[in-house]
Symmetry: C2
Subunit: 327 residues, 2 copies
């Protein structure tokens, strides 16, 4: 039997799981990333989490064939560089053969949302479709595009960044420098800007002041959920606007490249799926050209916390994928 | 030697060409579509044009292996229906085996912009790239997307309709019913609406009143060119706005699916390429996420009038493509 480990390296936690060659999960482990996010320090914790997962799965480390690491950054696979992971404070980290040396076996690195979409494609909501586009809505909006089993990366590894597709020319300022990106309207960063305007300029009141006094800087998806269920009008307006915008971006995906299914995930969708899914669908159908949305599925992700690590483990099982990154 | 005919069926002209199995053009023919655009009448003229092209090429009709027809409509290939060709006044035309029967050999139908992009992919500006996206700017904006030699059609044959991707939520009304489509800003329909506003509401003057008195309804690309070179400020504003918007749509293609090259064509680009190409490129680079546009080519189409017919002829040469449409 062959075994693989996938490790989801996030800003707050490191999450590892062990699978067999059928994709069955044999064990999991979780560690806080810790406050010191210096690359070498985090890498030691990644190794620790890896050992814990092997132990939980009752698999010896020397039985593991390959390790897949997923990080919240775009990767320059030719130069072997982690380009920019704001959540970890990493910028242009050269990694060379480090993963392979540290694990003592093939170990590969990829973008977390690509891996999460890959997991959903084979084991989750996207199972059975030829092409899916994943959109993961949290502080920002990440994306992943898989067509016929292949992760679409683009010339500069920037493809599938749906959060930075422009849906409103001259619209709200985005952190990326452009204006009117989906993320600047529909992700939590966009909702916060909009809610600040509603409160500060239009004089509306929000119970976020009580639930999450810090909401002008950062707001938890669960706080948005609470405020919504308490009938907060400011949060409601922001959520509706977000759903409309995500629907427009989904419509554009259908009109431009005709995907079969769109999979939505991330903290915001997980907390408020029952609100978001039907509204996004309405906006998607309405804004798609002609009858383009007919039969196109809008699905909520199914794998939750497992998606990214499972995708990474499943991805590295193939030698050609191991070869693709970090030759 | 095998020979193939491609026929570009447009609202004003029918254009046919004969190629050999290397894609070399052996003969061409052109006929006016005529005022009576009833389907059967037009089909007789298509046959006439076909015979003329064979004659020009010095090839007997019985030497032709297959015929590819390209029409300005989306095609329902399962039900064998031409869905809607506004330029010809056709709506839901069932064609069944008619082409095959009339030509007495495999004869297939596809969308004109798909075929034009296919032509550019193999013989024109897109030669040598794995994936290209074609944008053809005229009265509206048509698109075609080819990845690894395959025409991307989408679940409902509506993929690659880049003219109806939404780049400005709540923007100008589009003829398709939605708001803020690229076409409603950047194509001639969008320019006309905008120029009417500049003249009627803002009191600007335009020499189009002299050059093309009918410009509020329809305006030739050559009239736009003339007005631009005479320094008309209204036309200049409309052209600049159009270039910015096309650049945003191109940026979205890179950010969403990472194409290698974008090929621009159509009457507006052919007349004003020297104005449009650098401006579209600027806007594309500026509006693409991160360094995504680096190395992505923005190219002007090369095949001119031949593109669609050549693409159709080259497409039907493969038995699997013949089988794909109209089994």
């Amino acid at each position: 039997m062959n075994y693989y480990v996938g490790i989801d390296v996030g800003g707050t936690k490191i999450y590892a799981l062990v699978i067999n060659e059928k994709g069955q999960i044999l064990g999991r482990a979780k560690l806080k990333t810790g406050n010191n996010t210096q690359f070498n320090i985090v890498f030691e914790r990644i190794l620790e989490c890896y050992r814990m997962a092997c132990s939980t799965a009752n698999i010896r480390e020397d039985e593991i064939n390959a390790v897949g690491l997923a990080v919240p950054s775009s990767i320059d696979s030719n130069r072997r560089i982690i380009k920019h992971a704001p959540n970890l404070g990493w910028k242009n980290i050269p990694i060379g053969d480090l993963p392979k040396e540290k694990f003592g076996k093939p170990a590969f690195l990829d973008n977390d949302v690509n891996m999460g979409t890959f997991g959903e494609y084979y084991f989750g909501a996207g199972k059975g479709y030829k092409s899916i586009y994943g959109m993961f809505v949290g502080t920002g909006i990440g994306g992943g595009y898989i067509a016929n089993g292949v992760i679409i990366r683009g010339v500069n590894n920037t493809a599938s960044e749906v959060g930075h597709s422009i849906i409103k020319m001259n619209g709200p300022q985005c952190n990326c420098g452009n204006k009117g990106c989906l993320e600047a309207i529909a992700a939590k960063v966009g909702m916060i800007s909009y809610m600040k305007k509603l409160v500060d300029q239009d004089g509306k009141k929000t119970i976020l002041d009580k639930i999450e006094p810090n909401w002008r800087t950062t707001v938890g998806s669960s706080a948005l959920r609470k405020a919504f269920y308490k009938g907060d009008p400011v949060v409601l307006k922001a959520l509706k606007r977000s759903a409309r915008a995500i629907g427009v971006a989904a419509a554009n995906l259908i009109t431009l490249v005709g995907v079969e299914a769109i999979v939505l995930g991330g903290g915001v969708i997980e907390e408020l799926g029952e609100f978001f899914m039907p509204r996004i669908k309405n906006s998607m159908v309405k804004n798609t050209f002609a009858d383009g949305a007919k039969g196109v599925e809008l699905l909520q992700s199914k794998l939750g916390d497992d998606a990214i690590a499972l995708g990474a483990a499943w991805f590295v099982r193939l030698p050609e994928n191991q070869a693709m990154l970090f030759r």
